[in-house]
Symmetry: C2
Subunit: 152 residues, 2 copies
């Protein structure tokens, strides 16, 4: 592995780390109108698609463990966005069901993706970031694939 390829690690890992935070920040103005954080919004996206899931099932979809989701969902319960109740068939499971308030929020959330899209579009800096990320990622995939072929 040569010098340049070694640098690719940081060239991809750091940008992903940064862009992830930039995206969360870009969502903020639209989400705080609804009183939501980005992770809370993700939970709602899952529940709007498929209500009455266990915490575990939500975690599978979001790749989050219960030590993150448990308190997060309790905060959302306090906000009266959802209800928690133990499953009757398995007392270990906690089923999450949207309240009317949680369901109604969906309407207000509909314009968010387009707004976010336009935000990223308006800020050319960010398009630059994405383009940069795209090139690096393509480069990385090439090297990864190449290396996997070498092993055969």
């Amino acid at each position: 592995m040569n010098e340049q390829q070694l640098k690719l690690n940081n060239q991809i890992c750091f940008p992903i780390y940064s862009v992830s935070r930039l995206i969360t920040k870009a969502y903020k103005p639209f989400l705080e109108g609804l009183g939501l954080t980005y992770p809370q919004y993700l939970v709602l996206l899952v529940l709007w698609e498929n209500d009455n899931l266990s915490i575990n099932q939500i975690g599978e979809k979001l790749l989050l463990n219960t030590n993150t989701l448990s308190p997060l969902i309790k905060r959302m319960e306090k906000m009266e966005l959802l209800d928690r109740r133990r499953s009757k068939s398995d007392e270990r499971s906690v089923l999450i069901e949207l309240t009317d308030k949680g369901k109604e929020l969906r309407e207000n959330a509909i314009p968010i993706p387009e707004k976010l899209f336009n935000t990223l579009l308006a800020e050319n800096v960010k398009l630059g970031d994405i383009l940069f990320l795209k090139d690096i990622l393509n480069n990385w995939v090439d090297i990864l694939s190449e290396k996997q072929n070498d092993r055969k």
Copy 2:
């Protein structure tokens, strides 16, 4: 904007958010051997490249504000990886200088990028994630560019 394009938002934002966390997790086993977190490692990467920067300058490179960096750097001072001192020419600035221990850590950090690379390579699941991310990202860039051209 059609339904599918709207979904692209979540198709790109969520994967970036997830992959970012996966990458940080992938670094963990290698970094904790050095007693470092990923953000601390990033600070060292910056300082190994260019010592004696102010907190602000480090923040510019990492896109992090002082309310994140200040306590993080104080923790690194406690670990005796770096020294903090006020600049004489501008008493507001805090200059960060690596200690010998901080400099020496560089040697131990050299194999990390390759190890990480191999980890991602070994876990085919993750290569799948990257490929997925790559396609979505390319798709997104196409749409963004197209939309920007429309405005002209």
